[in-house]
Every structure is written in structure tokens, then in C-alpha cells.
Amino acid sequence: MRRLLSRLRVLRSEGHFCLGREARWAAAALVLACGPQAARAQQVLVQADVAEDTLKNTFGPNRSYYGHLYLGYGLLAGPAGAGAGVRYGTASAELRAGGRLKVRLNQALSLNLDLGYAYQHYGLAQNSHKTLPTPAVHLRESLGTQQVFSEVSLRLNAGRRGNSIGRYVDVLASGGWIAATSHQTEDEPAPGIASVETTERGLPYLRRWMGGVGARLGIDRYALVGRYRLTSVFGPSYAAWPELPRWVVGVEVGLF
């Protein structure tokens, strides 16, 4: 106790004040009696650790690294081979969801690595020229693929900006593995039966691995995207089959 009290001092302040001997004893006793628990009992209303608040981040839309999720919707476009006509519009579309890791190389250049899931739906046109997968004409017929994809893109940003995505053009290359396939038909077999739907899964004629290239044009979280499929939609054994449309043109919305 004596050693402790010898360390007790009168402390400087902007006003001049002096702690009396009795007050010093009382104060020291109070500190010892209460201990750190007592101070913890006090309610902190505003608190800041400046060093932590002013740390330079490496993670952000225009920092070294950035990651975010996104959703995309696109329509199939482009010519189809003879006998492989599709119904354009929402009947033949793609829905995708993915995550993106963006690595900034410099203010104008970044590299994106995407991983995600895409569902493609080809609404096959039912006409007399139809050849695939069979010439049979149905009320409705479609092919569906569920794909796990990976995409690499090089981003060119335009203009000086702060910590924001800004305006950009991406040049992308993608690869995907078809995890599931389906062929659906709908028919009116006989009067009194509204419709009969059939679904075939695990289609042998669809290719498992896909590859493509594309471009994306964006402002902050919104982007217009176009992808061109380089690989045939059908497997090597079905190379003679007419090709389905190779283009998908759509929009993406970043979730950040």
C-alpha cells in the first residue's frame, strides 16, 4: 500500500488544481476498492479506435480486391442451324447467378474470376423443318441445361474514379460443365386430356463441357453482357446435328 501511494501524484490539467492529502487517500482507496470491474460497468456511448477507423482498406469496389455476387438474365440470340429453330424471346433464355472476385491490377485494368450456376432453356420451334432431337412435332418442346461455370475476364475501366466500380468493358472467356440436362415435351394426345408432359433427363446427345467468349459493358452494378458459345451444344457423336443459337445477350446486376 505504501509503495502504491508513493506513486500517487497530483496531475497536471489545463485548469490548476491540487488534490489534497485526504482526497488522495480517498481516491486511491476508491480505485483499489472498485478495481477494473467498476469502470467496465460504465456505459460507453460513443467509442472510436482511430487507428482502426483510418486503416487503408485493400477490399473495395476499386481496391486491390473485391468480391460480390451477381444475377444475370439473358435471351438466346443469333441464327440457328436448319432444323434447329428455336422460339426466341423469353422462351429461350438463360438465368445465372454467380460470385465474382475482382483483382485490381491498376486504375484502368482488373482481372475478374467468376464462379456460378446457369440454367439455359431452349424453346424448340415446332415446324415442318424440325430435325432435333427428333422430327416429331409437339405442342411445346424444349431442351434445358444446368451448368456450373467459371469465367475469367479482363476489365478495362474508363475514367478516374474513387472507390467505385465505375464504367467498364470486360472481355471474357468462360468454361462450364453441364451438370444436368433435360428434354421436355408437351402434347395433346387425345380429346379430354388437357396435355401430357414428358421429361427426359441425362441426355446423351448434349455436350458436357462448354466454352465461350463474350463481353460485358457496365456502369457500377449494372451491366449488359453478350456471350458467344464456341463449342457445339451437341456431343462429338452428334456433330452432324444442326447447331442451336450460340449467342446469349442479357443483363447482369451486381449485388453489392
Partner: protein
């Protein structure tokens, strides 16, 4: 691909302008040979402002840009969007080839790309859908709690005492830069202002015309906290929502909600030169540029054009008041620009419920560790909107409240220069000399304004606590006499929040009472006289006494700071390991600031 290319071309056109042009900032070398007559260029008000502050009638930055240089540029580019005297520069739209040609012109110092930008209005509700203004505005009655807030937002800055002293900004000219002032002329809260023709000039710097009553209502909301009044059934001027209802105003539209193609900083610069010429004493700018263009580490007051322009305005005798920003609770955290400028009075937001920092109010320091914000005021207010009155939040409204207070203080002492006023405002603040990056020096106080330290009224504050050094910690113990809780009487009315609103007699010139000592002596309370709103005693917020402490390094840069509720006399124990050699522990409690260093 064709579609994509088409889209790419469109985006490219947006970036480079519809005609392939881009924006460039052309800095010129000199102003030699230009003639200038300050008495013809500056209005009498502008000349008077310079005269009062013993500033030269003009300086080099006021000289016009050389006409031959401008003509040369004009002949080679598509459009000139700004000619800045202050920066001896020209902003223009040009193709890259034209820009390259500009570099070879005589008198051209540099040609830089001039990027696009998006500003954030420093108000939380600014981005919400804007209601259509009513042509024949009938104002809905406001709730009792809103009414109480409207009185407290000015009472918190000693509004009643200011009004009693006849300080309402008379003779001051305040420029307000904002997104638009939709609904202002027909709003009942501004009828007195409009009728007395105290809106001296208006200009839309985005569309280069005088109509500023469009484009958004944020300016109307900000103006409410300067010169707005509550509507009354009799048509008589109602209670003021701000502190400078008698000032003159210059309204400039410099900002646009959402993304835009014209650089807003350019418009701000044009507006500040315009305001200078028209004799503005104070500029209120309730906007903050943040991450669309900058990084937090660039908020050093030198990076942005707008902060450099604001500093130049201060040099010409204009007090620039800016909202600190509303990014305290997001990733940005820090103040934006122009609040980062050295000579700009950055104002943070306080919660009317607690008197403490609002979460969204941006924090200091600047990137180069200068202390910001400077002052604070309510960040939740009742203000004018095109549809009537609304409770809004944002440091956009803290800024005009302090700008109005500054106008009153300048009215009180017109001999002060802008920077003297700046410093006196800081010194008058409740927490001064205590400072932290959330509250700045706190709210400015009328009673403390301009009192020299040697003056008899400036008694040394009585210590309210002691530092007690322990082996491993420093304890702060409140003195018994400061720990007394005064007997409280029942308030006349009570706010919904439960915070007592007291009817306190206002004694101009008296020392600011400590928060819990503001209860008037028993028997001296005076109820408000109905109908005499401007002179009546007003409700003053009555917050508990908080304890503020911080640890600063030898350069004065804070390492950490806290505000604590005081429930017991042993209120803080700071571990000594937090104190490096040269560090200072500073504590504020009930008007007294003590420091401890090892």
C-alpha cells in the same frame, strides 16, 4: 455482338460526350496585361466585405482570364463550360486530338482530363422520391414532438438568447449551394423572406439560368434550417427553424441528384466566384463528394478542386460552412470533400435525443490527420419541404444551423475576419478545448463567443474531476461537488422521448450552464407567453452530463476517444499501456477539460 458494340459505342459516347468529346481542364500560364476595375466587377457588398476584413480590393486570382487565351481555346474546342478567374483555367469539351492541340497553344500551362462525378447530398432522405409541390400549398398540422424538435434545434444553439439580443443574421449575406430549391417561393415558411426580397440573387450553374426552383428540394430543406419559419394560422411569421431568418440569401444550383454529365465541382467553383462577386459573407454547402471520385485517404483538403476553391473563398473573407457527410455508418466512415478543406467549417450531426454523435455523421480526421469535424449541431431536424414540414436527418441540416449561428455571431462583431470568426466559433463551443473526431468541439455557444481568455467573465473553469495514477492505469474520479445531481423539478411538458424540456429563462451574456445545471432556480421559471413565439422562452434540451475522454499522440492526433454516461464517480480507468511516451489523456466533464501526460 452488333448490339454490344452499339451499346459500347453509346457508353463510349457517354464517356467521351455525345460527339466524341471529353471534358478537359486547361490551366493557363499568366494573366499579364489584363485590365481590371474591382469597383465595377465587385458589388458594393463584396467591396464592403473586403474592406471590413482589411483585405486588398482585389488580388491576382480576381483578375479575369486573358481574353486572347480564351479565344484561342474557344477556336479549337467544341464547348467552353467554365472560365475560372480563381484558378486561371478553362474547362472545356474537346476530342483527344483537340486536347493535344491545346497543349501547344501559347499561354497553356497544362491540359488535364476532367472526370465525371456524382455528389452525395449529405442528407439521408434526399434520394427518396420527391413529392410533387403543391401549387396551392396547405400545410398539414405538425405533431407535438415535431413542434418541440423545431424549437429545440435552434434552442440547442442558443436561439432564444440570439433573438433576444436582436441577432438574426441582419446585414449578412449567405450563399446556399444545393441541388435545387423546389417549392421554396410558394412555401409559407419563406413568405417573409420572399416578400422582403431578401433572396438577392439566384443562379442555376448547371443550366446557366436564374431559375433555381427546380431540380430537387434539398435546397428548400437546407434553407429551412437557415431562414425557414413554421406556418401560423394568422399569417404572421411563425417560430424560426434556423438562426438567420433576417439574413439575405444567394441561391445557387450547383448539384444534381443522381449521375450527371456535367462536372459538379465546376459548377461549385463557378458559384463560389459568383457568390464572392455578389458579396456573400457565408457559404453553406450541404454536400459531400466521396467514393464516386475519391478514396478516403485522399480527403486531405488539397486533392479536390472544390476544397481548393473553398480554401480560396476563405482567403477572400468568406466563411465556408460544410456538412461533414453522412458516411459515418458505412464503409467510407470519413468526412467528404469539401469538409476536408482546412478553412472550411465542417459540421457534424448530433442526436436531439441524446446530444451525442449520430451514427451516420461522418468522422474525422482528414487524411493528413487534421482535426475534423469542427463543430456539431442537430442532425435530425424539422424543416421545410415542398409539401410542408418534415422531420429529416442528415448533416445537411447541421451545417445550415451552424451557418445561421455564425451569421448571428458575425452580425454581433462585424470586425472579425472570416478565419477569426472560424476560430472564435470553435473556441465558443461547448467542449472546447476538448475535441474528438465524432463531435468536433461540440455545439457553438453564444454566451461563450468572443470572450477573451483574459476577460473577467472568462473565469478558469472549476475542476470537476481528478486523475489518479495507479500502477497499471489512470483513473478519472469525479469530484464530489461535481457529482451532485441538482434537484429537478417537473417540466412543464415532456417530450415523447422522455427527455425533459425545461422552460429556462435566457440571460444573454451569462455563462453557458452545465448540462445538468440548467434547471432554473425554483420560483424563477417563466412560462411561455402564447403568441410571442419569437421572444418567448424556448425549450432547451436537457441532457445528462457526459464524460468525454481521448488519448492523443504528441502531434495531437487522437488514438482513441470515448463518451461515457456518468453513473458513478469512478468513471474511467485508462490502462497505462495505452499511453505511449508523449501521449496526452484529455478528459472533459461539465465544462472542465483536464489533461494528463506521463
Amino acid at each position: 455482338m452488333v448490339l454490344l458494340l452499339g451499346l459500347a459505342a453509346r457508353a463510349d459516347a457517354q464517356e467521351y460526350g455525345a460527339d466524341g468529346a471529353n471534358r478537359y481542364w486547361v490551366t493557363l500560364k499568366d494573366k499579364s496585361g489584363v485590365s481590371f476595375a474591382p469597383t465595377r466587377y465587385f458589388t458594393p457588398a463584396a467591396q464592403a466585405r473586403r474592406g471590413r476584413q482589411h483585405l486588398p480590393a482585389f488580388e491576382t486570382t480576381d483578375l479575369p482570364v486573358r481574353a486572347d487565351y480564351v479565344a484561342n481555346i474557344r477556336a479549337r474546342v467544341d464547348t467552353i463550360t467554365l472560365v475560372s478567374r480563381w484558378f486561371n483555367a478553362v474547362a472545356c469539351r474537346a476530342t483527344p486530338a483537340q486536347a493535344a492541340a491545346l497543349r501547344t497553344l501559347p499561354g497553356v500551362l497544362s491540359v488535364e482530363r476532367w472526370p465525371q462525378a456524382t455528389a452525395q447530398i449529405a442528407a439521408h432522405k434526399a434520394a427518396t422520391l420527391l413529392p410533387k409541390p403543391k401549387t396551392n400549398l396547405t400545410v398539414e398540422p405538425i405533431s407535438a414532438s415535431d413542434y418541440l424538435l423545431s424549437r429545440r434545434q435552434t434552442a440547442h444553439l442558443d436561439g432564444p438568447a440570439l433573438r433576444a439580443a436582436g441577432l438574426e443574421g441582419q446585414g449578412l449575406r449567405i450563399a446556399v449551394f444545393d441541388v435545387g430549391f423546389r417549392g421554396l417561393p410558394e412555401h409559407p415558411g419563406f413568405q417573409e423572406l420572399v416578400k422582403s426580397k431578401r433572396i438577392v440573387a439566384t443562379h442555376d450553374f448547371l443550366k446557366n439560368r436564374d431559375d433555381v426552383y427546380h431540380g430537387g428540394s434539398h435546397g428548400t430543406e437546407v434553407m429551412g434550417c437557415l431562414a425557414g419559419r413554421l406556418a401560423t394560422t394568422t399569417g404572421a411569421p411563425g417560430p424560426a427553424l434556423g438562426l438567420a431568418p433576417a439574413a439575405e440569401y444567394l441561391l445557387a444550383r450547383t448539384e444534381q441528384l443522381g449521375r450527371e454529365r456535367y462536372a459538379e465541382e465546376e459548377a461549385w467553383l463557378a458559384a463560389v466566384e459568383w457568390a464572392d462577386r455578389l458579396g456573400a459573407d457565408i457559404i453553406n454547402s450541404s454536400l459531400a463528394y466521396t467514393e464516386q471520385r475519391y478514396f478516403p485517404e485522399q480527403m486531405d483538403g488539397r486533392r479536390s478542386l472544390i476544397s481548393r476553391a473553398a480554401n480560396l473563398a476563405a482567403r477572400k473573407g468568406i466563411l465556408v460552412v460544410s456538412a461533414a457527410g453522412n458516411d459515418g455508418d458505412n464503409d467510407w466512415v470519413r468526412i467528404g470533400t469539401p469538409a476536408d478543406a482546412d478553412s472550411v467549417l465542417a459540421v457534424g450531426g448530433l442526436d436531439p435525443e441524446t446530444g451525442l454523435h449520430l451514427d451516420f455523421s461522418s468522422f474525422g480526421p482528414t487524411a493528413d490527420r487534421r482535426p475534423k469535424p469542427n463543430l456539431s449541431a442537430f442532425g435530425i431536424v424539422l424543416t421545410t419541404t415542398p409539401s410542408g414540414y418534415e422531420r429529416l436527418e442528415g448533416t445537411s441540416f447541421s451545417s445550415p444551423l451552424v451557418a445561421g449561428f455564425a451569421a448571428c455571431m458575425w452580425q454581433k462583431n462585424r470586425k472579425l475576419t472570416a478565419m477569426q470568426l472560424f476560430q472564435e466559433l470553435e473556441k465558443s463551443a461547448e467542449l472546447y478545448p476538448y475535441f474528438d473526431y465524432a463531435h468536433g468541439y461540440g455545439r457553438p455557444r453564444y454566451q461563450q463567443f468572443g470572450i477573451p481568455t483574459a476577460a473577467p467573465q472568462a473565469k478558469a473553469p472549476v475542476p470537476t474531476f481528478d486523475f489518479v495514477a495507479h500502477d497499471s492505469l489512470i483513473a478519472v474520479i469525479i469530484r464530489p461537488e461535481a457529482a451532485m445531481r441538482l434537484a429537478e423539478m417537473l417540466p412543464l411538458t415532456i417530450d415523447q422521448s422522455g427527455i425533459a424540456v425545461q422552460v429556462a429563462p435566457i440571460v444573454p451574456g451569462a455563462k453557458a450552464p452545465a448540462a445538468d445545471a440548467s434547471a432554473p432556480p425554483v420560483g424563477h421559471e417563466q412560462p411561455a407567453v402564447p403568441g410571442s413565439s419569437s421572444q418567448a422562452a424556448l425549450p432547451e434540451p436537457n441532457y445528462p452530463a457526459y464524460l468525454y475522454w481521448n488519448v492523443a499522440d504528441r502531434r495531437g492526433v487522437l488514438r482513441r476517444y470515448e463518451t461515457r454516461a456518468v453513473n458513478q464517480r469512478l468513471v474511467v480507468q485508462v490502462p497505462r499501456r495505452l499511453l505511449s511516451p508523449g501521449d496526452v489523456l484529455r478528459v472533459y466533464f461539465k465544462g472542465y477539460t483536464g489533461t494528463y501526460s506521463e
